[in-house]
């Protein structure tokens, strides 16, 4: 299966926001954001509540239409600016995107086949768990393994539950899980298809100390394997170990980028201090 071959291949998916703006009613959640994240980068998004972190992640996940601008994706092995984009107006039929291909391809959010080729490689951990309460942990993962076209969905689901520490509870309904267990399962779900771009929205929410350590170790392994990670955080521990870049958003715009200022650790520490003060 294609998704399996993708998950086994190294390299991440780069993402670029080109003059990206998103407005909800009269309020701009993002204002002309231009930002390029290279394949394999591990980026922390920091900023106060309402600064646009979640909207930026949703845009990267192809979940929202831009008011202006576009999101482009680039393959780890593509060279010379080759990319595929979520431009709302341009589209080329690409069928399925080969992870090692060096080719110009474009996708449109309005074209299901094209956007599906990109979505196959994107994992998302959201504020919500994205899980069905009336299904068991195993049924949830098997459902998504099937939707992603993975081989041996039952085995894949059980294999994903094991590192999350939920194998013993695989037959339990999610509605009976604690918040921390749900969050572990949500992370396991996001990792199920072997994403090349992992989007996380404050992923340590609800996790106990052991859970945070597991998350940190998991993300570090993914980063070492070349997966691109884009994560909103308040600067807490799970991010600091492996983040290579930090971006501070303020009122929908980029206020600071460590790629320019060169101090990702300092930005994370400042974000944590600001969050604790608030």
């Amino acid at each position: 299966m294609q998704a399996d071959s993708a998950s086994n291949s190294p390299g991440g998916l780069g993402v670029e926001f080109v003059q990206f703006a998103k407005r909800y009613g009269a309020r701009f959640a993002l204002r002309n954001v231009s930002l390029s994240i290279a394949p394999g980068e591990c980026v922390a998004l920091v900023g106060p509540n309402g600064s646009g972190k979640t909207t930026l992640l949703k845009a990267a996940a192809l979940l929202i239409r831009p008011t202006a601008g576009r999101v482009q994706f680039s393959n780890a092995n593509s060279a010379g600016g080759q990319s595929f984009s979520s431009d709302m107006h341009r589209s080329q039929g690409l069928g399925a995107l080969a992870p090692e291909a060096s080719q110009h391809v474009a996708v449109s959010m309005t074209n299901g086949t094209d956007s599906a080729a990109v979505k196959r490689y994107i994992g998302l951990v959201s504020h919500s768990t994205l899980l069905y309460d009336d299904l068991t942990a195993e049924e949830n993962l098997v459902l998504f393994a099937r939707l992603y076209g993975l081989d041996s969905p039952d085995e894949r689901a059980l294999a994903a539950l094991e590192p999350a520490g939920l194998a013993a509870r695989s037959k339990d309904l999610v509605r009976n899980f604690s918040r921390g267990m749900r969050q572990r399962l949500a992370i396991a779900r996001a990792l199920l298809a072997g994403p090349k771009l992992l989007l996380l929205d404050e992923p340590s929410t609800g996790l106990d100390r052991a859970g945070q350590q597991w998350l940190g170790a998991t993300l570090a392994d993914l980063a070492a394997a070349g997966c691109t990670v884009l994560m909103s955080t308040h600067g807490a521990g799970e991010a600091s170990a492996f983040v290579t870049r930090a971006i501070r958003l303020l009122a929908g715009s980029i206020a600071e980028d460590s790629a320019v200022s060169g101090d990702a650790r300092g930005m994370l520490a400042a974000a944590l201090a600001a969050h604790q003060e608030a």
């Binding site: 929202i64 299901g112 998302l124 959201s126 919500s128 994205l130 069905y132 939707l147 992603y148 076209g149």
Partner: protein
């Protein structure tokens, strides 16, 4: 065929969830039963009156029950944002809608098949001689209710007054299907029973048109 696989997976999920909780089926069955019983109290159900009023009352009850049953089909995807997870999956977005339509169609049909004998008993109608044709009308009418109801459940689920909005959108739009279903059903209880091709044609056309529109524009309904 690319659509059949995700539709099958999602339909199985819908059926598994519903038969585990039985929230929609039981509430719909009870609701339709109450409506049919209350309607039967309003007049003496002799055979002649039943032939005149029964089919219309049955379809009105099913329409009300449909608006009750269809409303949660998308709102229950909102509690954990599971619709976002489905939209993130590498599948055609319209397959999400198609699975919901099929699931709602199955739930309504199950409710109707349970209620049909009760309806026949309360309204003094003989359904066995026309059962095949009656089921055909029920299938076409229920498909109309499921398609339009599911689409408008998706639209109204993102609105603030969603509980009120769904019936307000649904009932006027379903009027042609309601009239055709009631007329076709009434014809089956005439002496001799007749199934008017014109009403079956109206139902088939209604289903085809709304299925096509859903196919073409369905994915926009799922966006934020």
């Amino acid at each position: 065929m690319a659509l059949a696989r995700p539709i099958g997976i999602l339909l199985a999920k819908e059926l598994r969830t519903e038969f585990r909780t039985r929230e929609l089926l039981i509430s719909t069955l009870v609701f339709v039963l109450i409506v049919l019983v209350l309607f039967s109290f309003t007049f003496d159900p002799t055979t002649v009156e039943s032939r005149r009023f029964g089919p219309g009352l049955l379809w009105l009850a099913l329409l009300f029950a449909g608006s009750l049953m269809l409303h949660p089909s998308f709102t229950r995807e909102q509690s954990n944002d599971t619709l976002v997870a489905l939209r993130m999956a590498p599948i055609e977005p319209v397959s999400i809608l198609a699975a919901k339509i099929l699931a709602n169609f199955c739930f309504l049909l199950v409710a109707e098949l349970v209620l049909l004998p009760v309806f026949a008993a309360l309204y003094n109608l003989r359904i066995v001689p026309v059962l095949g044709r009656l089921v055909a009308v029920l299938v076409l009418g229920t498909l109309a209710l499921s398609i339009v109801g599911t689409v408008f459940a998706a639209i109204s689920s993102q609105a603030r007054m969603r509980e009120l909005l769904l019936p307000l959108l649904l009932l006027p739009l379903l009027t042609p299907a309601l009239v055709a279903s009631a007329e076709a059903t009434a014809g089956l209880f005439n002496d001799p029973p007749t199934l008017a091709a014109v009403w079956v044609g109206v139902l088939a056309a209604f289903d085809t048109i709304f299925l096509t529109v859903t196919w073409l524009f369905g994915e926009y309904l799922l966006e934020e």
